[in-house]
């Protein structure tokens, strides 16, 4: 259940955030064409992807998961050697 009260940011607000974040880290996306479907990449597609990534953060935040039983694990498969889950 989501308890967010603030209105969701607009695309324009997110674009400002994304450009600022890249600039802060020293990444210059202005060298890409603004919009050119024939180019390997353009700013329009890059920003659309960035907005999607940011909004997926909300999906992840809303997903409830029991932290006592599901510790963050980078590579979980080998753990079955320790948890006896293979001994079904």
């Amino acid at each position: 259940m989501t308890n967010r009260q603030a209105p969701s940011p607009t695309d324009e607000q997110l674009d400002v955030y994304i450009r600022t974040r890249y600039a802060l880290l020293g990444v210059d996306i202005s060298v890409l064409p603004e919009s050119d479907p024939d180019a390997p990449m353009d700013q329009e597609r890059l920003l659309a992807n960035g907005r999607s990534i940011l909004r997926q953060d909300v999906v992840a935040a809303d997903f409830e998961i029991d932290p006592q039983f599901n510790l963050p694990v980078a590579h979980p498969a080998p753990f079955v050697a320790w948890t006896e889950e293979a001994d079904r």
Binding site: L32, P40, F63, N70, H75, A77, P78, A81, R88
Partner: protein, 515 residues
């Protein structure tokens, strides 16, 4: 008969071994159980392989399988130099059409390596094998460009652990295989979206994809320009080209093969995967490469590698049978396809499986709860992973990344709490796959490898027949993905070995390019 490793892996393995160590340390006479690591174990397993076809019936040395190659070389029936000449001749004649290789050594350098390959008593495990690693795997003598402008001109000063291991076993790198840009998509001209590598089954048709991102390895092996190769898989990049080109490939359990000296895409999802023409060939490569590497701690502390070669050897009997009693489940929807010919091929495959010994097809399984949420973005992904490794070139010029740029910038946007949540979700998904999916079956037939890539579980692909490509009406191979619990490689090899003892789809050779 001993059970397969997916049934015996548990902390008991660790506790048992520690008990031996404690006894020995206390001055007892205990000798540690033999670990299945190292050349001695592999060579022992190789001696038990089936007899190769007589050389007289093979009119082209590039048609030999890896199993036949190592057996014939060990006996002295074939010289490694002759294998080199045969493969190089084929590459020089046809790779202008396939475009599978990004870099190649000279013939003289290969012949010198073939002559210098260790013979070491019974012969090193891969002596004379002409191999094609993907171009994101470091080679000290060949450029490693990762299919990208980011690495253009990059010359590593050491071999990746897998390359060093193959070479020390007598394997020969006949070339670095082209790949999708930084391990995504099909191989392209660097920095563009212009395709390069062709599917070995349609070399004159640039539109029909070899699949990616291990495109060049797939084409090189299918087109008999290499006897086997190595791909990498973060999200389907070994089994995709494998299925598109009629190969048998294994993406093993995470940590089984060292990633040291591999250009990373995701530290948490990358896998090396042997790509070959048969289950036995894939098993031989895995047997050689599945070992701990001090330079990659992810390979340490795992149960010892079992005898994959035996698992991939057809089980003797009156009819093809899987080595161990095995329940095979079907992922929901897998039997259906928009292409009715594909659907019929899959139904036929399942009927054939049911007729094999030691197999019980349990039908469609139910998926674990919250499957959709746990296997799709953002929880099932790895969006933030690639950024940290690539900060310098991202600052230098984002255009170097071409069409893959978004993937490499995502880490600057994905929050730390989401990154942690993704890893929690992986653990939850692993638990549910173990307890809610692999409680119904031992092996799953599935379209997508995604859930198993993210959790690090093994996946094998193999051909199940041929279909018609709708656009051009060309005959192309069709394959299947089989997934298993962690350390279930033996089980997968056993199913594939039984299938390949019954059918010959894996042995069909694509026609040579015209001109």
């Amino acid at each position: 008969m001993r059970p397969p490793q997916d049934r015996v892996v548990s902390r008991r393995w660790f506790l048992d071994r520690m008990a031996w160590v404690t006894t020995a340390a206390a001055g007892g006479t205990a000798v540690l159980p033999r670990m299945a690591w190292g050349d001695d174990a592999t060579r022992g397993y190789l001696r038990d392989m089936p007899e190769p076809r007589p050389l007289q019936v093979v009119d082209d040395l590039t048609e030999l399988t890896l199993a036949e190659t190592v057996s014939l070389v060990r006996r002295g029936d074939v010289a490694p130099e002759d294998l080199v000449r045969a493969h190089v001749a084929r590459i020089e004649r046809y790779d202008h059409a396939y475009q599978a290789f990004a870099a190649r050594p000279s013939l003289d350098a290969l012949l010198a390596a073939a002559r210098a390959a260790p013979t070491d008593g019974d012969g090193a495990a891969l002596r004379g094998a002409c191999l094609a690693p993907k171009d994101n795997i470091y080679t000290s003598d060949l450029l490693t460009e990762g299919g990208s402008l980011v690495y253009e001109g990059f010359q590593p000063d050491y071999d990746a652990t897998v390359v060093a291991t193959m070479r020390s076993a007598g394997g020969l790198v006949v070339g670095k295989a082209q790949m999708g840009n930084l391990a995504g998509g099909r191989a392209q001209v660097y920095g563009t979206t212009t395709p390069t590598t062709r599917n070995a089954w349609t070399p004159d048709d640039v539109e029909y994809s070899p699949a990616g991102s291990s495109s060049g390895t797939g084409t090189a092996v299918a087109a008999r320009m290499a006897v086997a190769g190595l791909g990498t898989q973060t999200g389907g990049s070994v089994v995709g080209p494998g299925n598109a080109q009629g190969l048998t490939c294994i993406k093993p359990t995470f940590g089984r093969i060292s990633l040291h000296g591999v250009i990373p895409l995701s530290y948490t999802r990358d896998h090396i995967g042997p790509m070959a023409r048969t289950a036995l060939d894939a098993a031989i490569l895995l047997q050689v490469l599945a070992r701990p590497d001090a330079n990659d701690p992810r390979t340490l502390g795992l149960p010892p590698a079992p005898n994959y070669i035996e698992a991939a050897t057809p089980f003797p009997g009156d009819r093809p049978a899987v080595r161990w009693p095995t329940r095979i489940g079907i992922a929901p929807g897998w039997l259906e396809s928009e292409d009715e010919r594909v659907a019929e091929l899959r139904r036929s495959f399942v009927r054939e499986l049911e007729s094999m010994g030691n197999v019980r097809v349990v039908g469609e399984v139910s998926l674990p709860e919250q499957w959709e949420e746990l296997t799709s973005s953002p929880l099932g992904g790895s969006h933030g992973d690639p950024t940290a490794f690539f900060i310098e070139p991202l600052r230098r010029d984002v255009r170097l990344f071409g069409d893959r740029l978004p993937r490499f910038l995502n880490g600057m946007l994905q929050s730390a709490d989401t990154y942690v949540k993704v890893q929690q979700a992986r653990m939850l998904l692993l638990h549910r796959i173990q307890t809610q999916l692999f409680n119904q079956c031992d092996v799953l037939l599935t379209e997508s490898s995604g859930a198993f890539d993210g959790t690090g579980m093994p996946v094998l692909c193999m051909p199940i027949g041929f279909g018609t490509e709708p656009r051009t009406a060309r005959t192309v191979p069709r394959g299947v993905n089989l997934a298993a619990p962690p350390f279930g490689e033996e089980r997968l090899f056993a199913v594939a070995a039984a299938w390949q003892a019954r059918t010959d789809h894996h042995a069909v050779r694509p026609e040579d390019p015209v001109g």
